[in-house]
Amino acid sequence: MPLVFCENNNILALRRAFAKELGDTAPDTYDQYIAQLAKLYREGGAEKLKTHEVPQVQDVQRCSRLFPNLDGVKFLTHEMGCGGTRDDARALCGLLAGYICHPNVAGATVLSLGCQNAEVSILHEEIRKRTPHLAKPLLIFDQQRSHVESAMLTAAIRETFVELAKADKIARAPAPLSALTVGLKCGGSDGFSGLSANPAIGHVSDLLAVLGGKSILSEFPELCGVEQNLIDRCTSDDVAAKFMSLMRTYAARAKAAGSGFDMNPSPGNIRDGLITDAMKSAGAARKGGASPVSDVLDYPETATKSGLNLLCTPGSDVEAVTAQVGAGANIVLFTTGLGTPTGNPIAPVMKIATNTELARRMHDIIDLDTGGIIRGEKTIEEMGETLLEEILRVAAGDARTKAELKVQEDFIPWKRGVSL
């Protein structure tokens, strides 16, 4: 991962280099298609192009099993680390520390330019906050302290390769459900989200709370209108006060930027029957089930208490999922009524359709269908139990999500401040 966007190009060079031998490689269907179109154009001009059939898309080839115990080598890029506020630089280091300390991650290689706001020392501080003694390899390379680029990158590759071989000695082992943290997210919602998929994952969240696991509900702008219910569920006055303070600060910032929480719902939501912000929020909040709120976290804090955690993030899909995983989510449950392909580099994102029509039409990106609730074939509780079984299969490595098969690895850290 890069500490600053200046290192993105080096990260991409590493990704290309590792992909061939060790990484998941996305299907080259489109490469082949472009090659065919280029050939047709050379032969017969633009007219022939219109009727050319699109080749069938293949599933991604699994990486060669040089390291059978590793699920993959992942490469993150982002647009932050300098040129913004110091708060944003620290928040970025906190998020990256969350990814480094994450139980799904065996080790990390970090590229730093040297002079950026997001300093290596801040990253170390943020790691110590989360894990006082990090028991995994952390390799940091600083370009301004090295010679030519290739010297730094070959060193990064060699040392990373050695650590990959060591990490491969760690085999998958059974873990209790109390070790599981699940992110709860909706995106591309429709008028059924609050009736089927959201309450179904809300039931999963309730089951996990009883079993000692953790769940994370975020998207604070989309909790506008249901604050009182969540405040009533907070386990202490301090937790409730933190929630109210974060909501107030966020709402004031939105207003100062010329927007506001009442800009929800979107035009697409309204056409689909979600006619007020509170109606959308009440449906969205069902993802959090009915359990007490154990803790409230500001971005990019990590969840430490079992039960339901509220994490302050935007409603924006990728920023919210990026933050939930940074807060420790091993798996993200993502409900959608309209369909979205999103995924995350280090945590499986299970996409759960609110209606069967979507699940059938976009079967290449949807993992599970909760339309049976709408038809009256299954209760919310039954559907939640089915989902929990699927979660366990994914957690055990027995099933892979559609996003993993597509190598869809979205990563967008939340930028709260202005650019300078």
Partner: protein
């Protein structure tokens, strides 16, 4: 619109306190809808996923769904009739 003809139920009232219900399939004017023991007749078309009134609404009257106030009614005339497609806005 969605192909939801196979759905056995036409509409859903989520919480007992709710005064609006959700159409699970495209519903038409004059259609009879059963919600628990209650039967009502629609006075407008209601598209799938949209809401309709379970009582007569004055404009500005609270809309309750999921057992919570989710906005207020917007009525073209003074009253919204039971069984009419619901328009609403943020409660200020």
């Amino acid at each position: 619109m969605l192909e939801l003809k196979q759905y056995q139920r036409k509409a859903m009232k989520i919480s007992p306190q709710d005064n609006i219900a959700v159409a699970l399939t495209d519903l038409h004017i004059g259609e009879e809808v059963t919600l628990g023991e209650r039967q009502l007749q629609l006075v407008t078309n209601v598209a799938a996923k949209h809401k309709f009134a379970l009582e007569d609404f004055a404009s500005g009257h609270e809309m309750v769904m999921y057992g919570a106030v989710v906005g207020e009614a917007v009525a073209p005339r003074r009253f919204k009739k039971e069984g009419r497609h619901m328009s609403g806005r943020r409660r200020t």
